[in-house]
């Protein structure tokens, strides 16, 4: 056997376990979901219906509400968490190198049990929570915050608080890769702080920002756990997400609907991911 063939064979053997796992637990289920999305019925009674399910789901008002809420959460939450994490990462850049414990502290909100966090949210924002007690004491009107449009912002604040630390760690890693002598040289040349940030930091942070965005996106979907514990299967309509729709469809045995919702969500996420990837690749072309 030629060495190149042997190397190729050995390589594929090494990746085989993970590839098999991905195939069994990701690729194959995805294919089955795709199949469910074009079928009606269950089990032996399934039959092909083409795009009927997609048309039906797209015209479904609750799906549209869930889809819009999810997109709104991502469109608002991702830039916000990036901005907050970036700012904090820049501020902590120097300190993080000196105080290793700081990175661990930043992760505390991320690792806190979801139940405990939701309890605190309820204690503060619940109908008989701390906030309402304070407002009542000062004579201001009270509100059932978790069952009102404000619930969206409560959940948003929770998402940023919980996940900003993780994003900061990722961005700090990116910042640490930028050579300090570039900043020193820029300073000697009279560049202001903003100019150093714009011309040195930003161009070299695209990959870090890209990965942070991906993980923030994943964490945004994980936020469903908190929303579910706060609002149940049918929370206020402003925080009714695609995961609620999918979960409820599963309980109602509406497998085609949940399959279609999953596929449409995947398409949106894949398009966003692809656009970001090409953008970052373009920006990072100078490294090649």
């Amino acid at each position: 056997m030629k060495l190149s063939t042997k190397n190729a064979r050995d390589g594929y053997l090494l990746v085989a376990p993970i590839a098999l796992g991905c195939l069994l637990f990701y690729a194959l289920p995805f294919v089955l979901v795709l199949r469910h999305s074009v079928m009606q019925g269950v089990g032996a009674g399934q039959h092909f219906v083409g795009a009927d399910n997609y048309i039906s789901v797209w015209n479904n008002e609750m799906f549209r509400l869930a889809f819009w809420n999810t997109m709104r959460f991502l469109l608002v939450g991702l830039p916000l968490i990036l901005a907050v994490s970036y700012a904090i990462a820049l501020l902590l850049k120097n300190q993080a190198q000196k105080h290793k414990l700081l990175k661990s502290v930043l992760l505390f909100p991320y690792i806190m049990p979801v139940i405990g966090v939701v309890l605190v949210v309820d204690l503060v924002f619940g109908e008989v929570g701390l906030l309402n007690k304070v407002l009542l004491a000062v004579g201001l009107p009270i509100e059932d915050w978790l069952n009102s449009p404000i619930s969206f912002w409560v959940v948003m604040a929770l998402y940023i608080w919980k996940n900003a630390g993780y994003s900061i760690i990722l961005l700090l890693s990116g910042l640490a890769m930028i050579p300090e002598d570039q900043y020193a040289a820029a300073q000697i040349d009279g560049a202001s702080g903003f100019q150093q940030f714009w011309y040195i930091t930003v161009p070299q942070m695209w990959y870090a920002v890209f990965f942070t965005t991906i993980f923030s996106l994943i964490n945004a979907f994980k936020c469903f756990r908190e929303i579910f514990l706060i609002g149940g299967t049918h929370p206020h309509e402003d925080i009714y997400m695609l995961q609620h729709f999918i979960n409820n469809c599963f309980e109602n045995l509406s497998y085609p609907k949940l399959a279609v919702a999953s596929v449409l969500l995947l398409i949106v996420v894949a398009v966003v991911f692809a656009l970001m990837y090409f953008w970052v690749n373009r920006k990072e072309r100078f490294r090649a």
């Binding site: 190729a8 019925g41 269950v42 399934q46 039959h47 092909f48 008002e61 799906f63 497998y255």
Partner: protein, 467 residues
């Protein structure tokens, strides 16, 4: 170093495998709507039955206020297996513990989705919760958070059940004239028959016949609809302490003939219809100064109340004891229809390999001798506490009024579903009460009628969108 050609070849090979797997999986799903039953053979047949009927044999009957079909199911399984050699029926009873039940129901749904669903379902309808307290099992309508089929009517349209219409239509031994047609139609969608209703319930007005005739109330009007009942009592009822209008909100959807259109996936009921009805309800609750919380007895002090069909035997017994002539009639919907709901049903799973055998087993539950004899005797033992309606009309009973109720034609028969639970709890917010020495005293609640009506319509919209 790996050769570029080798890498390209491997990539092509992997891509080809993936596309082949995709096509195979997609094409293998192109099955017929009506799968062909397994060919008859001489091999042993095993049918898997899933039920939530609990085993109450070890419990103290005098404390057990609800009748479980478990004994009947076991008895008929034994009889069927002895008559059909080579057929084994495995009975699975869903767990009673909330957490265990939730886990098992998730597993069941996954099995159904994967095409490994049970052969036979025998279930209480909708969101009935079965809970155990000490030696007693209680059945609470609308207390369960989850159910295998939150909406059976919707499940019928999703192809979860086998169309047993051909077996039912060809069954000449089954006396279909003896069945309450309106109830049996609950299991029909178009030309297909998916579900066999086994028990049902409907709201009934019980009255002291003599006192009612002497009261000046227009009896025909109160028999006409629930709105007529409320209007007549509110304007002419007089002393409400004799007239605890305790309409059983366990099944609040009785009040409406038309709720949702499953085929168009829309809500037929309007907020105005609900508001008008709830206004009546709230007026009645607030004007009825004293409500007796437990099952009332008809006497000279209690002239009229509404309850459900399943309490008919008990009410008849106590009326006899109190020497009151019983008048009883269905409480009709706002539109004047007799609306019933299926409380227990059975169906053959779509994945059943022997649907003909499964139907043979299920039809036993519609044969008269399995429906009434034992149930009347059990009900008598328990002072007639609970005996639900059954599609098979009884031929005789101790009380003619009770017999008439159990043979009443039904205009509309539905299955419970989760939105009804929301409605029941929403109605509860229309009034508040305190417990006094004389009983319950009511006052207006936090929620206004229009808000409650909109909440119900929203609940129905959610239900149709996700169902």
């Amino acid at each position: 170093m790996a050769n570029r050609t080798d890498v390209a070849k491997m990539k092509k090979c992997l891509t080809g495998t993936l596309i082949a797997a995709l096509l195979f999986t997609a094409l293998s799903g192109c099955a017929a709507v009506n799968p062909q039953p397994a060919q008859e053979d001489d091999g042993p047949i095993t049918l898997r039955v899933v039920t939530n009927a609990q085993d109450v044999s070890e419990l103290d009957y005098s404390n057990n206020r609800n009748y479980s079909m478990y004994d009947e199911i076991k008895r008929l399984i034994k009889a069927f297996e002895s008559d059909h050699e080579g057929v084994t029926i495995e009975l699975e009873v869903l767990p009673i513990d909330d957490e265990e039940q939730e886990t098992r129901l998730s597993q069941l749904r996954t099995e159904i989705m994967a095409g490994n669903g049970p052969d036979i379902y025998m279930m209480d309808s909708g969101v009935t919760a079965v809970q155990k307290s000490g030696s007693t099992i209680y059945v609470y309508p609308f207390a369960a958070e989850i159910s295998v089929f939150p909406d059976v009517a919707s499940a019928m349209r999703k192809g979860v059940f086998y169309d047993i219409g051909e077996f039912y239509d060809a069954d000449e031994e089954l006396d279909k004239d003896a069945l309450v047609t309106g109830v049996m139609n609950a299991g029909v969608v178009g030309d297909a028959r998916y579900v066999l209703p086994l028990r049902y319930n409907l709201p009934v007005v019980y009255a002291n016949k003599t006192a009612l005739e002497d009261s000046g109330i227009d009896i025909q009007r109160i028999k006409g609809s629930v709105t007529g009942l409320y209007d007549e009592l509110l304007t002419k009822g007089g002393d409400w302490s004799r007239c605890p209008v305790n309409v059983r909100y366990n099944y609040p959807f009785f009040a409406f003939s038309d709720l949702v259109d499953y085929d168009a996936q829309t809500v037929s009921l309007t907020a105005d219809e609900v508001s008008n009805y709830l206004r009546n309800v709230q007026s009645a609750m607030l004007q009825a100064h004293v409500i007796i919380s437990s099952l009332p007895e008809l006497d000279e002090n209690t002239v009229i109340f509404s309850w459900v069909l399943s309490s008919a035997a008990s009410v008849a017994k106590t009326s006899q004891k109190n020497e009151v002539e019983l008048e009883a009639f269905p409480l009709r919907s706002v539109d004047g229809d007799v609306v019933a709901n299926v409380t227990t049903w059975a169906a053959v799973g779509i994945d059943c390999a022997h649907p003909d055998v499964a139907y043979d087993f299920l039809r036993q539950f519609l044969m008269e001798d399995s429906q009434w004899e034992e149930r009347w005797s059990v009900a008598a033992y328990r002072n007639g506490d609970y005996i639900a309606g059954c599609p098979v009309r009884p031929e005789e009973t101790d009380d003619e009024t009770v017999l008439a109720l159990f043979t009443t034609d039904v205009d509309i028969c539905r299955f419970d579903f989760t939105a009804e639970k929301d409605f029941a709890s929403t109605i509860r917010k229309l009034y508040d009460y305190e417990i006094t020495q004389d009983g319950y005293v009511f006052a207006a609640g936090d929620m206004d009628v229009d808000t409650a009506a909109r909440a119900l319509i929203d609940a129905l919209r959610w239900h149709m969108a996700e169902g």
